[in-house]
Symmetry: C2
Subunit: 170 residues, 2 copies
DNA sequence: ACTTGTCATGTTATTTCATATCATGTATTG
DNA sequence: CAATACATGATATGAAATAACATGACAAGT
């Protein structure tokens, strides 16, 4: 689970997530980027927070708060729900992690740093999650909102379906 | 709560939800439409199911399963969670009610009958919910999905923000 | 009429997700 | 080094959702 060195020949195009890739590098890059952003903005990436982020980056799929909590416990951190939820709150607020509403679960952000309104593709079979960009406010929804006088502040876009792997197997 | 006859002069354009409207008529129309569809398709709109649908139509905003359950209890129906969840499951499966993932709550469909992939505008202040159309699969997300080989089956689109009323008050 | 099958409902118990609250600790920073 | 912000720990509870099993209602087949 910790060292799965892969060819890494397929270098990613936009939607990171389902393709094979050099995962170790992917994790390290993301972590570095987050660290940079934190020190730049005076955010405190404390041990618990860092650990949670690492876990999510490592897994590369959505984890529930209690799954996270179990791992925290195993590593000697506090083992009560608020420990996990607080770390997640920090990470979500700062855009390092996203919550997948459909699953009541969390994934590490694939494009940390870049401001974005993310969209997700969630495999209903294997629970893999890939992050893409979306601008729903620009399409039909935006028009409807303007017509209705609704001020969009944030959007949740989640597509459920089958990932490439699971499609093949079926 | 039961009889709030309003001018009904503002006849709706696309996104039903925030505008004032003749609510009683709105409820009755929807109910009739659902009844028609049920008898056409041999679906059984039983008392519990009908009651839940009525409640949601009447409220015109998202209600949690337990709020629904409370009302069911008050009306003499079963009072355990599965009672509400089963009715909701039926209503959701047949497109008469939608689940708002962001709120873990449910709203009556504003366009019953018409097939649609709904999008929602949710006021973070008063919890009002308006339904609009969306075709996220046609925009950036669709492109990303095709690129990644992901088969979209269903999408959740929920915009959070301020409804016209709450915007004014602020 | 009686049996069988199907679908809906009722009930109990449990699991999973989430937060309020209060006490304690640990860093800045003034 | 005190003040104060922020982070964590721990207890308790609330809220959402489902598993599992029993009962009831009704239509179809014999």
């Amino acid at each position: 689970m910790t060292s799965d060195a892969r060819p890494a020949s397929v270098e990613d195009t936009a939607p990171v997530g389902f393709q094979e890739h050099d995962h170790q590098t992917c994790v390290e890059t993301a972590l570095t980027s987050v660290e940079a952003q934190c020190s730049a903005e005076g955010l405190r990436l404390t041990p618990v927070r860092r650990k949670v982020l690492e876990m999510l980056l490592q897994e590369h799929r959505a984890l529930g708060a209690y799954a996270i909590l179990d791992q925290l416990r195993a590593e000697g951190f506090g083992s009560q729900p608020p420990v996990a939820y607080r770390a997640l709150e920090f990470l979500v607020q700062n855009g390092f992690v996203h919550k997948i509403e459909r699953l009541n679960a969390f994934v590490a952000c694939s494009h940390p740093g870049q401001s974005h309104s993310p969209a997700f593709m969630i495999c209903r079979k294997c629970d893999a999650v890939a992050e893409a960009q979306s601008s729903p406010a620009k399409g039909a929804l935006g028009a409807a909102a303007r017509a209705a006088g609704f001020e969009i502040e944030r959007t949740v876009v989640e597509a459920e379906g089958l990932c490439p792997d699971c499609t093949e197997k079926a």
